[in-house]
Amino acid sequence: MGVFQFAFPELGEGIHEGKVAKWIVHEGDFVREDEPLAEVENDKAVVEIPSPVEGKVVQLFFSEGAVASVGEPFVSIETNALTSDDKVDVPKTPLEDAGLANTVHEVKQAEAVKVSETTPNRAATPERVLAIPSVRRLARENGVAIEEVKGTGEHGKITREDVLAHLANQGRGEPAISKSENVELPAKEAVTKPIFASAQEEIVPLSSIRRSIMQAMVKSKFSAPHVTMMDEVDVTELVSFRNEMKQVTAARGVKLTFLPFIVKALIAALKKYPYLNAELDEENEQIKLKKEYHIGIATDTDRGLLVPVLHHANHMSMWELAEQITALSTKARSGKIKLEEMRGSTASISNIGSAKGLFFTPILNYPEVAILGVGRIRETLLRQDGEIVDAQMMALSLSFDHRVVDGAMAQLALNEIKAVLAEPKRMLMEV
C-alpha cells in the first residue's frame, strides 16, 4: 500500500496559502481522482481542491479554519487502497529516516538477554540543506520549504536574505519575522480559535479575505491621494424608463437594476475623459491610458468586500450587462467566483444606495484612477424653471486620484455621467 502525501498546491499566481473552509472528505473516505477534497478560501475566493490521486484518505493535516501554506502536507491518501487495513502511516521523522536508535521494545521472552540497551546517539538526515536554525524557522513561518530556496552562501548555504528574496520573488507581502527577544504570540492567520476570551471582548482572527481587504485599503489610501466629488442628478426619466423595461426584462428572466445604466454612463464619461480610465506608472513617470473598459463592481458578501469585474463592458449591450452583473454577484456571494473574474478592472463602481446610503467617499480600487460611488434615489421637490416639480434624485460620489486628474476634469466627467443618467435616451448614442 502506498501512501501519497499530497502537499498543499499552489492556488494561482501569487497565492501561497489558503484557509481550509470546509473538508469535503473525511479520514477513511474513498476519493477518486479529481474529486474535491476541500474548499479552501484564499484572498479572493473559495476554491475546491481536487484530489490528484484515487485512494483512501488517511489523514487530513489541517482542521477547518486553519491556514495551509503551499508545500505543507495537506492530505495523505492511501493509493491502491480499499484494504481493510486502517493503519495510519504518518510521515517519518528525520530520525526514523536515518534508522536511529529507538526506545527499546519488549524483549522476546525466549531470547533472554540479547538486546543491549540502545545507546542514544546521533541524528542527522542525509542531504540536509545548509541553513541555520533561525533561518529554517523564518522559512517555516512564511510557508517556504527550505529545500526550494536557492542558497547564495558558501556551498549553497541558505541565508536569511535568501529566504527573504525567495519570498519577494513569490510576490508575497511582508514576511512574518518573529522577534527572538521574546516569544511571540501565534501568527495571526494561524490561530484557529480565539485564544484569549473574556467577557469584555472576543477576539476574532482575521479571515484571509479580511486581511486582503485591509492590505488593499491601506495601499490605496496611502499611495493615491484621492478626492471625492459629490453631486446629485435628476433620474426621474431613468426611473420611469427602468420601470417600463422591468416587464420586458422579467419576461427574459433578467433582473434589471440601475447598475447597467450606471455602467453605461460611467463608460461614456471615461471615453470622454480617458485620464479617468488610466493607471499611473510612477516608476517610469508615465500614465497608461486604458483602451478597454473593465468595470469592477464592489460587491458585499458574507465574507467581506469582493470586486468582480465586467470585462470589456464597453462591448456589452444593456442585456448583457444586466445578466453579467447578476451572474458575477451571485458567484461572489456563494464564494464560487474565480480569481480571473476579479482581476484587471480599469475603473470601479461602488453602490451604497442598496443599503440606503447617500453620499460617501469611496476608496480607489488601486491602481485605478476613478471609482464612482452611487447613493440611493430619493423622491424630492425640485424647483425647475420657476415651478416646483416632483423629482427622483440620485446621489453620486466620484473619487479620483489627484496625481493623475485635477478637480475640474473630474467634475466634467461627473457632469457627463449625470447627463447620461438624466437623459437615458443618450445611452442609445453610447452603445
Binding site: T103, V107, V113, E117, P133
Partner: protein, 469 residues
C-alpha cells in the same frame, strides 16, 4: 465516598510532567493557552526523580570519593571515609531542589497541576483517576508526554534483588557485589559509580561490545577504565535466570553455549526502555500505535488525531530528555498555531562514564555514506595543557567534516568534561560551521575547548600542538 463525574473545559492538557511534558506545558502557557498538566507520580518525571539528575549526583559523589581515596594529585594524601546514607540524603536534596524549581516555574506560568492517572475517553476528553475520585477534562489540544519505563526480561523478573535503575539509585548501602545485565549507558554509568564506591561489579552485555552504539575507539577507552576499577565485563553473554535467596542472588548466563554463574547482592537489569503507551486508553482517542508501541507523529509531533500531539520517548528517535524537551516546545507552539517543526541537524548524546563520552551528528562511517569524501581530525587530551594540569590526560576529540565544503557533520569526544565540550560542537553543526570557522575562532587558554580548535586545525593539516604523521 461517592463522587459524581465532573467535566471541566480546558484549552490544553499535557499528560506527563517529565522534561518533555513540563517544558511543553510552560511553552503553551507562555503562548497564552490555559494549561492543565497531569502527572501520576512526581513532577520532573524519571529524569529529575529517578534518572538523569540523581544518577549524576551519585556519579559525582563516587568520583569525589575515588579521587580522595586514591589521590588525584601525587603529594596529597587523604584519609577518606564514606557515609553512604549521607551521600544518598544529599542526592535526594539535589532532586528536591530541582523538582521544587520546576514546581515554582509551573506555578509562575499559571500551569495547573493535577495528580492522577490519565485515560482518554474520546478525542477531546481525558479522565483523571486519583485514589479517591475521577474527574473528566474536555480539551481543545492535548500533548502526550508519558515517557518510558525499564524493559523487564521474562527470564529475570524484577524482585527484591533483581532491580531496575530506580532502586539501584536508591540503595541504602553500597552493595559488596553488583551484577549488571546490559552494557549500555545506564549499566556503564551506574556500574562505574558503584565500583568507585567499592562494589565488585560484573557487567553482562549481549552484543560483542559495551556501548554498542559508539565507535570501537571510544569503547576501547571505556573498557580500559572499567578494567582499572576491576569491573568485570562479559560480552556476548545471555542472562538465563536469577535465583534470589535471603542474602544474595545467583545469576546464570551463557557465553558461546557455556553456562556460567555469578553471585551478587543485587542484579541491575538495564536492557532498554519501553514506551508508556499501553495504559492510556489511546483507542478511545482513535490513536493507533506502531509495532514498537510508539505513537506515529508528523513533523510537528501531531498524531493522526489533529488536536493530539505526542513527544519524547513515546515517539520515534532516541529516548533522551533533551529530545523530549525540544519536541515539547515544538508541539506546544504548533498547538498554539505557530509554524514550528521538529527540524534539527543533530542531537547530542552523552554517557557519564569515566572518562565521559559524548557524540553528536554523524560518525565517520555514517558520514561516508552521505558525503562523497569525508575529512576527519583527531586531537589527544594528552597534548592539551589544561587536560594534563587537571590530571586528565586520557581521551580525544574527533571531528568529521564533509571534505568538499569543510562543513562539520559530526563530532565525538571522550575524556574529562566531554559532556560539556559537546555543546559547542552541536552548535557548530547547527550553524553549518566549517573546520576553518572553528580553527579561526579564538579559544581561551588554557582550557579543554582549545582542543576543538586544535582538532579542526589537525583536520586541515596544520595542527600546532601535534606533529603531523
Amino acid at each position: 465516598m461517592v463522587v459524581g463525574e465532573l467535566t471541566e473545559e480546558v484549552q490544553m492538557v499535557v499528560i506527563g510532567g517529565g522534561p518533555g511534558g513540563y517544558v511543553a506545558a510552560i511553552r503553551a502557557a507562555q503562548l497564552g493557552l490555559q494549561v492543565l498538566l497531569i502527572e501520576k507520580e512526581d513532577i520532573g518525571g524519571v529524569c529529575l526523580n529517578r534518572g538523569c539528575i540523581p544518577s549524576k549526583a551519585l556519579i559525582t559523589a563516587a568520583e569525589d570519593y575515588a579521587k580522595g581515596k586514591n589521590g588525584n594529585v601525587p603529594g596529597i594524601d587523604h584519609v577518606v571515609t564514606l557515609d553512604f546514607r549521607k551521600v544518598q540524603e544529599w542526592k535526594d536534596s539535589v532532586v528536591t531542589k530541582m523538582t521544587q524549581g520546576v514546581d515554582m516555574l509551573l506555578k509562575g506560568n499559571k500551569v495547573r497541576v493535577v495528580k492522577g492517572e490519565a485515560f482518554f475517553v474520546g478525542q477531546q476528553e481525558v479522565r483523571v483517576m486519583t485514589d479517591t475520585e475521577a474527574h473528566n477534562y474536555h480539551f481543545t489540544h492535548c500533548i502526550i508526554a508519558t515517557g518510558s519505563r525499564p524493559v523487564e526480561l521474562a527470564s529475570l523478573p524484577f524482585g527484591k534483588r533483581v532491580l531496575t535503575s530506580t532502586e539501584v539509585l536508591a540503595l541504602g548501602e553500597v552493595p559488596k557485589r553488583l551484577a549488571i545485565v546490559g552494557g549500555g549507558y545506564i549499566g556503564i554509568e551506574l556500574g562505574q559509580a558503584y565500583a568507585k564506591f567499592g562494589a565488585k561489579v560484573t557487567i553482562l552485555e549481549g552484543t560483542p561490545s559495551i556501548l554498542p552504539a559508539f565507535d570501537p575507539s571510544i569503547t576501547r577507552l571505556i573498557g580500559r577504565s572499567l578494567k582499572e576499577w576491576q569491573v568485570e565485563v562479559v560480552t556476548g553473554a545471555l542472562a538465563k535466570s536469577a535465583v534470589e535467596s535471603a542474602d544474595e542472588v545467583r545469576l546464570t548466563y551463557e557465553v558461546n553455549g557455556e553456562v556460567h554463574a555469578v553471585s551478587a547482592d543485587y542484579v541491575l537489569v538495564t536492557v532498554g526502555r519501553r514506551p508508556n503507551t499501553d495504559e492510556l486508553g489511546l483507542d478511545a482517542a482513535g490513536i493507533t500505535l506502531d509495532g514498537k508501541g510508539l505513537i506515529p507523529v508528523d513533523h510537528q509531533g501531531r498524531t493522526s488525531v489533529a488536536n493530539i500531539f505526542a513527544i519524547g520517548d513515546i515517539v520515534a528517535g532516541p529516548a533522551l530528555a533533551h529530545k523530549a524537551s525540544y519536541e515539547g516546545k515544538v508541539a506546544a507552539e504548533a498547538a498554539a498555531g505557530m509554524h514550528s517543526a521538529v527540524d534539527y541537524a543533530c542531537i547530542p548524546a552523552v554517557v557519564f562514564a569515566d572518562p565521559e563520552v559524548a557524540a553528536v551528528g554523524l560518525n565517520e562511517d555514517e558520514a561516508g555514506k552521505v558525503y562523497e569524501k569525508v575529512k576527519t581530525g583527531r586531537f589527544a587530551y594528552g597534548a592539551n595543557g589544561r587536560a594534563v594540569s587537571m590530571n586528565a590526560a586520557n581521551g580525544f576529540v574527533k571531528l568529521i567534516a564533509d571534505e568538499e565544503s569543510g562543513v562539520l557533520v559530526g563530532a565525538q569526544v571522550v575524556g574529562a568534561e566531554a559532556s560539556n565540550l559537546i555543546a559547542e560542537l552541536a552548535l557548530a553543526i547547527e550553524m553549518n560551521a566549517t573546520l576553518e570557522d572553528m580553527a579561526l575562532t579564538i579559544h581561551a587558554h588554557p582550557t579543554l575547548p582549545e582542543m576543538v580548535m586544535e582538532t579542526a586545525e589537525a583536520a586541515l593539516g596544520t595542527p600546532i600542538h601535534m606533529l603531523k604523521k
